[in-house]
Subunit: 261 residues, 2 copies
C-alpha cells in the first residue's frame, strides 16, 4: 500500500471492498483510530467510562445516535464501510470478522472513535528513539495489569498496557514526547519493575508478541486501547462492533494536530 | 464566611441548611464547580455536548445513573444537599429556586460537575493581573455570541463568553496563564473587536454586569459555563436542575491541581 495515499482515498478503497489489510504505515502522518460501536442503551455508560479513563480511552470523536459519519475527525466518512475489517461481538464473544457492517447497523447505534499509539510511536521514531516491536516486525506486547480503571455503569476493566523497552535516558525523552499526545494515550503509566503493576513475565504478553529487552534497557508501559476490549468482554453487551486489531480507521487529522503545547 | 473553612465543612453547612449564600471567596484555593442534573434519557446527549465543547463545558466529574455523590472531586458529598442553592427547570423554564433537591431527586438522574472561571481568576490575581468585575464588586459581564457550539443530540447553543478588560501586555500574560487551566475554560476564545464575535455593545451584557474598560485596555473573552443554560433552555428537558448562579459546588480539589504542564 502506497503510504502517500490520502486518508479519504484509503477510506474509499475500504468502501469499495478493495482494502482489507492492516493499516500500520498507511497514510503516513495521519492519525489512526480504534472504533467501538454500541447501542444507545449502553452509550452513556461507555462514554462515561472513556471520560473517566482518558489514558486508555482517549476520545477523538463520538457520533450522535444513529449517525455513521465521524464528522470531526473524518468528514464524509462512513464508519460502516470505511475500515478495512471489523469484529462483531455478541454477549462479549467474538462471533464474526467482516469487512462491512452495513447489514449489522441499527438506528440506535453510537460510534466511538478512540486514539491509538501509532501517533506517538511515529513521534518517538522521529526523535530517534527505538520502537522495538517495529524493529523486530512484531505486534507490540500488551499485558493485563493489577491497575484498575474507574468503572462506569456496566463497564469496568483492569488497565491493559503496551510495553516498549528503552534505556533510562531514552525513557526520560519518551516521557517528555508522549506527554504531548494525551489523545494517543499520553505519558507512560509505569516504568521499570513489572511486578509493581502485576506483570509477572514480560516474555508472556497477554496480547501481541514478546520483544527483545536489551542489556541496560528498562520496560516502559503505556495505557493501551485494548482496555476497551476487556471492558466490553466483561459487560457482555447484546451487540458490540469494533475494528479488527490493526485494521484502524484512518482519519483526516494529522499526528501533529494532537500535540498539546 | 470564613475563607479558611474546608470544602467538606462548607458542604456540611449546606447540608444542615446553614449556608445559602454565594460562594465566591469561600474555601479559598479550592475548585468551585457548576452543577447540571438531567434524567438519564438525556445524559448521553449532554455528556456528548460537553465532550464536544470542552471550553464552555469542562467536565470535572459525572455521576453514574442515580448516584448523587461526586466521587472524584468531592468524595462523601451529597449533590442533593451540599450546594447552597439550586434552580429547578421544567421544559427549560426556571420554576423554582430551592436549597435542597432531595424531594426532586429521581433514580434516573445523572449529575454533571463542570469547571468554572473562579479557578483561573484566582491565578490571574496571583499573577498581579486586574480582574475588573472583582475590583468593582460586580458579577462578570457575559455575552451571547455569533459563535456556535457543536451540537449533540437535542443540545445546541451559541457560545456564551465572559469578558475581562486587560492591557495588551496583560492579555498576553492572561493567555499564557489561563491556557494552563483547560478544566476552567482554558485560553480566551477572542480578544479585541467584539463585533467579530457578534457582540454589538459591551455596555449591555446579556448576563451579569457591565464593567469599566479603561483607556488602553482591550476586552478579552473566555468561554463561559452559562452556555449550558442556553443549551438547556433550547432543549427544554422535562426537568433539569442546576446550581443557582454564584452558588457553586465546593470541591475537594485544589485550583493548582487543574494546571496542565
Amino acid at each position: 500500500m502506497d503510504s502517500s495515499l490520502t486518508p479519504a482515498h484509503i477510506r474509499h478503497l475500504c468502501r469499495l471492498g478493495e482494502f482489507h489489510t492492516p493499516t500500520p504505515g498507511v497514510a503516513s502522518g495521519y492519525v489512526q483510530a480504534n472504533l467501538v460501536v454500541l447501542p444507545k442503551s449502553l452509550a452513556f455508560d461507555f462514554l462515561l467510562f472513556c471520560h473517566r479513563n482518558p489514558k486508555p480511552c482517549p476520545l477523538l470523536d463520538v457520533t450522535d445516535v444513529g449517525e455513521h459519519e465521524a464528522r470531526i475527525v473524518a468528514p464524509g466518512s462512513d464508519l460502516r464501510t470505511d475500515l478495512p475489517r471489523y469484529n462483531i461481538f455478541r454477549q462479549g464473544e467474538l462471533v464474526e470478522e467482516v469487512t462491512d457492517i452495513r447489514e449489522y447497523w441499527r438506528d440506535d447505534f453510537v460510534a466511538f472513535v478512540i486514539g491509538c499509539s501509532f501517533s506517538f510511536e511515529s513521534a518517538l521514531l522521529k526523535a530517534g528513539l527505538p520502537v522495538r516491536h517495529i524493529e523486530e516486525g512484531k505486534n507490540v506486547p500488551m499485558y493485563t495489569t493489577s491497575l484498575s480503571c474507574l468503572s462506569a455503569g456496566v463497564f469496568s476493566s483492569c488497565l491493559v498496557v503496551s510495553m516498549r523497552p528503552l534505556s533510562a535516558g531514552e525513557a526520560i525523552q519518551a516521557v517528555k514526547i508522549t506527554s504531548r499526545y494525551p489523545k494517543a494515550h499520553g505519558a507512560p503509566v509505569h516504568l521499570g519493575e513489572p511486578d509493581l503493576i502485576g506483570i509477572s513475565n514480560l516474555n508472556s504478553p497477554d496480547f501481541g508478541d514478546a520483544v527483545t529487552i536489551e542489556e541496560g534497557e528498562i520496560p516502559v508501559f503505556w495505557a493501551c486501547g485494548v482496555t476497551t476490549q476487556i471492558a466490553l468482554g466483561q459487560a457482555k453487551p447484546e451487540i458490540a462492533i469494533t475494528h479488527a486489531p490493526g485494521h484502524m480507521l484512518i482519519t483526516d487529522i494529522q499526528d501533529e494536530s494532537l500535540v498539546v503545547p
